[in-house]
């Protein structure tokens, strides 16, 4: 299937919105991305008539792939920080993550650290640790 330039632009926009959502709180993702159910009436992402996902399995699969990749990134960030056992500067976190998966870029890691307060907390300027450490 060939998609128009306008469609590609809309898709990129949708992708970015979903990435922002998953980085803040994955529970806020639309049900069609989180699971195999559709709750279009409650969806805050788009109206059914303009929704890119509805009716297009390829688009849905692609966006789910992006979300899975983002969640894997988050889990990898959590893992390296947890293994280290103390808050550390963000560039070291990025190096540790990239030592395990070199395809993950710095900006994606920093965006996770900055926006996902559920999992990550700042302990100083550009120093991050797990959010559960903050309460100890």
């Amino acid at each position: 299937m060939v998609y128009s330039a306008q469609f590609a632009s809309n898709l990129e926009y949708t992708e970015r919105i979903l990435i922002n959502i998953v980085r803040q709180n994955e529970a806020l993702l639309p049900s069609c991305i989180r699971s195999n159910t559709y709750s279009c009436g409650e969806c805050t992402l788009a109206y059914p008539r303009s929704c890119l996902i509805l009716g297009d399995w390829d688009i849905r699969s692609y966006l789910r792939f992006i979300m899975d990749r983002e969640l894997r990134t988050r889990e990898l960030i959590r893992l390296v920080i947890s293994e280290h056992g103390r808050p550390l500067y963000r560039d070291i976190i990025a190096s540790m993550v990239q030592a395990r998966d070199s395809s993950i870029l710095n900006h994606a890691i920093y965006a996770w650290l900055d926006s996902c307060s559920v999992h990550f907390k700042a302990f100083g300027f550009n120093i991050y640790g797990l959010s559960e450490w903050h309460t100890e």
């Binding site: 280290h84 056992g85 103390r86 550390l88 500067y89 070291i92 540790m96 302990f123 100083g124 100890e136």
Partner: protein, 369 residues
């Protein structure tokens, strides 16, 4: 120690064995873990025998005994031709000068003066001043003043790189420049290493930089600067200096992310790793620790505990580090001590230990539960 012997004689102990914080008062006490002890002793001996400079890495799990190991190494070094200088990595590092400031605190005016006098006994004063002048004219001027018993407090402020000393005040002590840059700091350290080397035959400085893990919270620029500082210092002192970087975090291999490649390649490939203990090692640790404090060498190696209560207490600790063991055993002994002293208890039985643990809220002890 005599008053301690009296105070704990009912426990058959010459002192309180369960200390959470390392102290130099008991730095010659090593309990259990014979392999690690041997490695520390071997490394200290090697550094003593090898005149060339070296860099060594020591990792320990949280609470596993890193600082106590360094204090133990310090006690060994003092018996050899090593001058141990134990320093904590600064909590806030902007440049390598901050590291130098912490090192400079070890060298009081008296210590520095005695060091210089020792050098002058082996070489002439003029020769020493000339040699130091080649490295740092300012430091040479200061040493000449110290030799002549000048006690101007500005001398110490300059040596400790205090910021903000006006130049006209520096001129009073014959110094032209403050210590401001990382290069200045390395120059100062180079002189100190030279003084140590010349103070006695084959003398070497053993610089132990503890808490190196604090560099994991430094910006890349500052981290690069301190790495360059370490590298440049070793380049400037190809002999008479051994540096130990000790650090605590969850995974020892993560040190590779804190060191630049040129520092990593300088480090001795054989690292000292101090992980948490296995159960049998923890049991040996307790027995050995109590044995070293025994007044009367009796058969009961666990007294005032029993083998059963000791085993119970060790089993209640999920992370067997010296710190956690000290905490748990110390808490139970503190509770039982008055009753043991009054003879109401003959020992800390397994039932007593069980009740003590129940009252202790060990589920709140996140570090050791």
């Amino acid at each position: 120690m005599d008053s301690d012997s009296n105070r704990y004689s009912h426990l058959n102990l010459s002192g309180w064995p369960f200390r959470l914080l390392p102290s130099r008062g008991n730095n010659n006490i090593w309990a259990g873990r014979p392999v690690i002890r041997r490695k520390i002793e071997q490394l200290t001996q090697q550094m003593s025998e090898d005149p060339t400079s070296s860099l060594h890495l020591m990792w320990a799990d949280f609470g596993a005994g890193k600082t106590h190991s360094l204090f133990y190494m310090e006690s060994l070094a003092e018996e050899l031709n090593l001058l141990p200088v134990y320093v904590e990595w600064p909590k806030k590092t902007v440049t390598f000068v901050d590291v130098y400031r912490n090192i400079a605190q070890y060298f009081s005016l008296r210590r520095l003066t005695n060091l210089f006098w020792a050098c002058c006994e082996r070489h002439s004063v003029d020769q020493m001043i000339d040699n130091i002048y080649m490295i740092s004219p300012d430091f040479a001027a200061i040493l000449e003043r110290l030799y002549n018993r000048d006690t101007n407090p500005l001398i110490y402020e300059w040596l400790r790189a205090q910021p903000g000393i006006p130049r006209r005040e520096l001129a009073q002590i014959g110094v032209r420049n403050p210590i401001k840059t990382s290069d200045d700091a390395i120059t100062m350290l180079t002189v100190l290493v030279k003084l140590v080397a010349e103070s006695d035959s084959d003398m070497k400085m053993l610089l132990m930089l503890d808490e190196f893990q604090r560099t994991d919270q430094l910006s890349p620029r500052v981290r690069a600067d301190v790495n360059t500082g370490v590298r440049t210092l070793l380049n400037a002192c190809p002999e008479s200096l051994s540096v130990i970087l000790s650090f605590s975090f969850g995974k020892p291999e993560n040190i590779n992310f804190l060191l630049t490649e040129d520092v990593r390649t300088l480090a001795d490939p054989e690292r000292i790793n101090i992980p948490k203990m296995k159960p049998e090692e923890a049991d040996e640790f307790i027995r050995d620790l109590l044995r070293q404090y025994r007044i009367r060498k009796e058969d009961d190696t666990y007294f005032p505990f029993t083998e059963e209560s000791s085993s119970l207490l060790l089993g209640s600790i999920s992370k067997l580090t010296p710190r956690c063991i000290m905490k748990r055993f110390g808490a139970v002994l503190r509770r039982a001590n008055p009753e043991l002293r009054e003879g109401k208890l003959s020992n800390i039985s397994i039932d007593y230990a069980k009740n003590a643990l129940k009252d202790m809220h060990i589920e709140d002890d996140i570090e050791c539960k």
